[in-house]
């Protein structure tokens, strides 16, 4: 299982996958992504429609049923592995950024 070919995830895909930790329909995903990102990331319905198709084709999400004409999706094991790999990358990015920026602040003072 090579997760690296799916990386880096866009900010939107990252939040989208996290929102599908439990089965959810499209509109719930839109709301969850906006809330989880503190309003910084919004996914429009057309963008989400395309993202669902792409992520399902890649095997990162799968259909989890249908209720009141709304399709439910959830993250697959592969999706979870990709998110974990992305998270590790983000942690490295944060550590590196903090180190450099703290060092620069010292120089400026």
């Amino acid at each position: 299982m090579d997760v690296n070919r799916y990386l880096p995830l866009s900010e939107a895909s990252y939040y989208l996958l996290l929102a599908l930790d439990a089965p959810a329909h499209g509109y719930a995903v839109m709301q969850q992504v906006e809330a989880a990102s503190g309003g910084q990331v919004r996914i429009g319905p057309g963008t989400l429609y395309g993202a669902f198709a792409t992520l399902e084709k890649q095997g990162l999400i799968e259909k989890a049923g249908e209720e009141e004409r709304r399709k439910y999706y959830r993250m697959t094991a592969l999706g979870r592995a990709v998110v974990a790999a992305q998270l590790a990358r983000l942690e490295t990015m944060v550590t590196c950024g903090r180190t450099v920026m703290a060092h620069n602040k010292g120089e400026a003072a």
């Binding site: 499209g26 919004r42 319905p45 963008t47 395309g50 399709k71």
Partner: protein, 179 residues
């Protein structure tokens, strides 16, 4: 309730110009009800409203997808009119999210437009040339041919121009994508 019909011959690749025009109409109390082919728009007269309009196009091989319709409706968009695979969406709620929130998905919309344009324009070419050639050879109507050829050329040039405009839009959207 009175009905008003208006012509707007703006090419469909200038979708943003049509969107601004429809919003302008809504502010004057004219609300889109129907789009007929060749740019005939039907409006219903009502109270002026600050509506938002967005035009989207489906993949011509798929047509209207029920999941797409559900997502759009849940997000606050109402389909004001449909013409072929073109959808004219309206929203009166201020917080409604844009249909496309990133450059790649917006680019996909213009790619769908491009393939439709190619699909419509390429088959025209041999038919028009064939018609012109037949007219030239005919005894009674050879005078029609000189008129038909420029017409065919104009159609091809118009579609070619649309293709170039769409390609320029795609390029500028691709420049917006992160490295």
């Amino acid at each position: 309730m009175s009905v008003v019909r208006k012509w707007n011959l703006t090419a469909l690749w200038n979708d943003d110009r049509i969107e601004r025009w429809l919003e302008d109409m809504a502010r004057q109390g004219l609300h889109l009800e129907k789009v007929s082919w060749a740019g005939l728009f039907t409006f219903r007269r009502g109270a002026p409203k600050p509506s938002t309009y967005r035009i989207d196009i489906a993949d011509y091989r798929k047509g209207l997808d029920i999941d797409y319709l559900q997502l759009m409706t849940d997000a606050g968009w109402r389909m004001a009119a449909q013409w072929s695979t073109w959808y004219f969406w309206r929203s009166d709620a201020p917080g409604t999210p844009e249909i496309f929130t990133d450059a790649p998905s917006r680019a996909q919309k213009y790619r769908r437009m491009m393939s439709l344009l190619l699909l419509c324009s390429l088959p025209q070419l041999p038919f028009m040339l064939n018609a012109a050639a037949t007219l030239y050879r005919s005894e009674e109507l050879p005078w029609l041919a000189p008129g038909l050829l420029p017409l065919a050329a104009a159609a091809v040039l118009f579609n070619g121009y649309g293709y170039l405009r769409l390609r320029a839009k795609l390029r500028s959207l691709e420049r917006m994508q992160p490295l």
